[in-house]
Subunit: 221 residues, 2 copies
């Protein structure tokens, strides 16, 4: 075993990745342990050699934060940081592609409410991941006052998360696009520079442009 990871460790990782994807796609409650294990090519019984319970798995998935989200991994791989990181992520986060691909998207708009009903361990893991995200956003804001920076960061994340929840819930694609466009416009205002209520391009127009983006699939594979 010259490998850095043992065989068991690799299986655990595979379970985590599969669970993360399935939870985001179908929801935590709607995804069975059997389905997760089957996605890895194993049977349900083996699950309990890796996790104490299904809710333990949820906590572990949340603990991985953005590591299973290509959007975040790619931004890091590209060496982005500061304001570049925030602007790039904001654009990708609020894209129709992200709306249409929850299985590989951010965990929060996919699982947020279920986390709110989960046990303390899962909520603590979620909180840790969120704090990490807030730190990254704060670092990218052109805002001197640190209180205001964290307030802006929280508002940015809240608006982005809420916009995806709304955009995914709505039946009409045009309205859905409008929601994302509105959030994109207003996020610019919050990112800076300087005083969050100064020097910002006026938001408002973008939502009206018909953005044809191709069909929106009901469900990804």
């Amino acid at each position: 075993m010259a490998d850095g990871q043992g065989r068991k460790e690799q299986t655990r990782e595979a379970i985590l990745r599969a669970a993360s994807t399935l939870f985001r796609r179908d929801g935590y409650h709607a995804t069975g342990v059997d389905k997760v294990m089957a996605a890895v090519g194993l049977t349900a019984g083996g699950f309990y050699a890796h996790f104490r319970s299904k809710s333990d798995l949820l906590a572990a998935v949340l603990g991985r934060g953005g590591r299973d989200v290509p959007m975040f991994a790619a931004a890091d791989a590209a060496g982005l940081d500061g304001v570049d990181w925030v602007r790039t992520l904001a654009d990708q986060y609020l894209s129709p592609a992200h709306r249409d691909g929850p299985a590989t998207g951010c965990l929060i708009p996919a699982l947020g409410p279920e986390v709110g009903r989960a046990d303390p361990a899962a909520r603590a893991a979620f909180e840790a991941a969120l704090r990490g995200l807030v730190r990254r956003v704060v670092d990218g804001l052109a805002v001197a006052d640190s209180d205001r920076a964290s307030s802006n960061a929280l508002a940015i994340i809240a608006m982005a998360v809420g916009a995806q929840v709304l955009a995914r819930g709505v039946a009409d694609e045009a309205l859905s696009d409008q929601i994302l466009a509105a959030a994109r416009g207003h996020l610019e205002t919050l990112i800076g520079p300087g005083h969050p209520t100064r020097d910002a391009p006026p938001p408002g127009r973008q939502g009206q442009r018909p953005r044809k983006q191709g069909r929106r699939p009901k469900r990804e594979s």
Copy 2:
């Protein structure tokens, strides 16, 4: 039957109210038809005299919009409208009380992601309710340009929804309060008056004040 509502109609209403509460508290998937009917004092079999399926019930619940949300009903009963309506609702929506009482709160932060995975009928019902909410918010904004007004309204709703999702997910109450306070501060900016990026009180401070608000119960009764 001199009543405005027949016996069956009353039962249907009771089922809807119970389902709305239970769905918000425990989630749509985690709530069984039996539980809903038991909450009304009936057995599961009778359910199908009122609804074609469980997902039909979800669509019906969503179709009621804010009618099962005391916060909205009270604002209407008080005769609020325009900017008063928006400010009052924004404050209540982003209160710790709303965070701690999802069962009687807005449907969106409680059920949003599950609606995103639901069938077209449920999504259409959700969309209609959301459009109604947007209209009310637009009417309350001191913003002349109608494109900008609807963009602002969407951003306001997105931020409020996202803030509740984050606030409910996080384990630490202080951070949770901070999230709500940040959203409250930035919402003021979006409500107006005039240009959304001018004449706004600087947000940022509120999030730092320790707001003791009493214990946060894990689950309401």
